[in-house]
């Protein structure tokens, strides 16, 4: 009978991870109207950065102590990659037709995968990622995987930090202004180039946190992990209303829950028994996207494209 709460919990966990990655898509889009298709790889590189940091620690360091160092390693790797991509790949194309940066983003995505595949030691196969040992945590109505506790704590904390940053800091207000009207933001004395770099960096940092959560959850990282995760997170961002940071998290949660419930229950619908199960999860995720876009093209929390932060 407590199958439903368990499926909801699984979906929410998945959703928190999608949401964390989706913030990067939505922030960059909100400010420069660019879909950064390399963001999935920024996430993947965060996983490898965390793994590298872990490997650099003395053998036998407890995972509790290692975790902050791993987050830091992941964040540094992701932020450096994202800001370099902005500076050298996207900024020169800022005034080019919109197709040019889009194609660049796709090319960059493939290039980053291949660089990791070719140069990271052992990355031609999946590499195992440290995990917390121990049983699942019993919360009465449902169980949580012990390694998901990190995600459960980190995702809301990241959202809180981001929301307060955007609302209450001077740079956050400059970011809102730049998203609403970049030229006028310049007339206020706002260095919009700097704001764009900050948007890329923040999105990358959250992607790195998500990558650590992903590693803990699945016990491995691999150079292709950014592809599907990135695609799902992009779907989440569009679902929630691209450009809206709260929409990104909401879209992630809705997508995660929908995926989890569809996997579990679609097979009970008469005539659809062959469409259930994990193999169809991605199909239902994208069906949901199509349905939402038909009914509400601006996404769940989206408003006019021009003025969001």
């Amino acid at each position: 009978m407590h199958e439903l709460p368990q499926n909801l919990a699984n979906g929410l966990m998945l959703g928190l991870m999608y949401g964390l990655i989706a913030i990067g898509y939505t922030m960059v889009y909100g400010i420069v109207q660019l879909i950064n298709f390399a963001h999935g790889e920024i996430f993947m590189i965060g996983g490898f950065g965390a793994l590298t940091a872990y490997a650099a620690l003395p053998h036998g360091t407890s995972l509790w102590l290692a975790l902050p160092v791993m987050i830091l390693g992941g964040v540094i790797a992701s932020v450096l990659t994202a800001t370099a991509a902005e500076r050298f790949a996207y900024r020169p194309l800022r005034t080019a037709p919109r197709l040019a940066p889009l194609i660049t983003a796709i090319g960059l995505s493939i290039a980053l995968q291949q660089v990791v595949w070719a140069f990271y030691p052992g990355a031609k196969k999946a590499i195992s990622f440290p995990q917390f040992a121990g049983d699942t945590v019993d919360l009465g109505l449902f169980h949580l995987q012990r390694n998901d506790l990190f995600l459960l704590a980190a995702a809301p904390l990241c959202m809180l930090i981001l929301a307060s940053f955007v609302r209450f800091t001077r740079t956050g207000r400059a970011m809102q202004a730049t998203a609403q009207d970049p030229d006028t933001a310049k007339l206020m004395g706002i260095n919009t180039d700097r704001i764009i770099v900050i948007a890329f960096a923040l999105g990358a940092a959250f992607a790195a946190v998500a990558a650590v959560a992903h590693g803990l959850r699945y016990g491995q990282v691999d150079f292709m992990m950014g592809f599907l995760a990135g695609l799902k997170a992009f779907t989440a961002a569009v679902l929630g209303g691209i450009g809206n940071i709260y929409g990104a998290m909401l879209g992630g949660l809705v997508l995660g829950v929908a995926e989890s419930l569809a996997t579990a229950y679609i097979q009970n619908v008469p005539g659809m028994h062959q469409l259930g199960g994990g193999a169809w999860a991605n199909v239902w995720a994208f069906v949901l996207l199509i349905v939402v876009l038909l009914v509400r093209p601006q996404g769940l929390l989206g408003e006019r494209v021009a003025d969001r932060a």
Binding site: R170, R173, A174, Q176, A177, Q180, D181, D183, T184, A185, K186, L187, M188, G189, I190, N191, T192, D307, R308, A309
Partner: protein, 238 residues
């Protein structure tokens, strides 16, 4: 004594199309200087180039004797040049107060900022009443007041006003023009761009007529008001 703003042989192009074809003009300290002309004459392009949003293809722009034509827009504000753009461009999803605070983005003197918010609110009482309201909910005229108030928040030496009367009711337009006079009296130098030539010329110390990217006529506001060409072309008289 150099002028506050000197523009020399300025040329600006959008791709291959030249919008401003080598114009020169000056804005003297403490005066209201106006550019009038029809749609597409290059007035807005000129202002956007002065404030750094566009780059000239040739010519020089001197502000207080220093060249600013290669300075990025966000640094030009810091020099004391504020621009209230055509179409107002307030930040619609922020409150009136947040819009005004963004006008003071580069300032750190909290007391001075608070004082200038009060000044903007006494200049335009409607802003005071609606302080916590989203700026996008204001009427066109109120948005214009907000855009002017916001530009004044940087305490500029020179205020660029682009089409402040555009789309406003005659009553609202009078109010905006009266504010221009008031600002001049309080010592703010203004470069005004207007299609409403009658109103603009009658309050200008100096005025230039722009036609398809060139300055075709200049003089004091009173001189141009009496000029036959101006009367026929811009004041709708035969």
């Amino acid at each position: 004594m150099t002028a506050l703003l000197e523009v020399e042989d300025l040329r600006v192009a959008y791709g291959k199309i030249e919008a401003v074809k080598g114009i020169s003009f000056t804005v003297e300290q403490g005066e209201v200087t106006t550019l009038i002309g029809t749609n597409g004459a290059g007035k807005t392009t000129t202002l956007r180039t002065v404030s750094g949003l566009l780059r000239p293809t040739a010519g020089r722009i001197l502000f207080e004797g220093e060249p600013i034509d290669t300075v990025p827009a966000h640094k030009i504000v810091a020099l004391g040049l504020a621009h209230s753009p055509e179409g107002r461009h307030i930040f619609p999803r922020m409150t009136i107060e947040e819009n005004l605070l963004l006008g003071a983005f580069l300032r750190r003197d909290q007391a001075g900022i608070a004082r200038d918010i009060e000044r903007a609110c006494s200049l335009f009482p409607i802003l005071d009443e609606r302080r916590k309201q989203a700026a996008g909910t204001l009427s066109g005229g109120e948005q214009q007041m907000l855009a002017m108030g916001r530009a004044l928040m940087s305490n500029p030496k020179l205020l660029l006003l682009d089409e402040p009367s555009m789309g406003l009711s005659p009553l609202m337009m009078q109010k905006i023009m009266a504010t221009v006079v008031e600002l001049r009296a309080s010592g703010t130098t203004i470069l005004l761009v207007e299609q409403n030539a009658q109103a603009a010329l009658s309050l200008s110390d100096r005025a230039y007529v722009m036609t398809t990217g060139e300055i075709t006529l200049s003089g004091t506001g009173a001189e141009l008001l009496r000029d036959d060409t101006v009367r026929r072309a811009y004041l709708g008289e035969d």
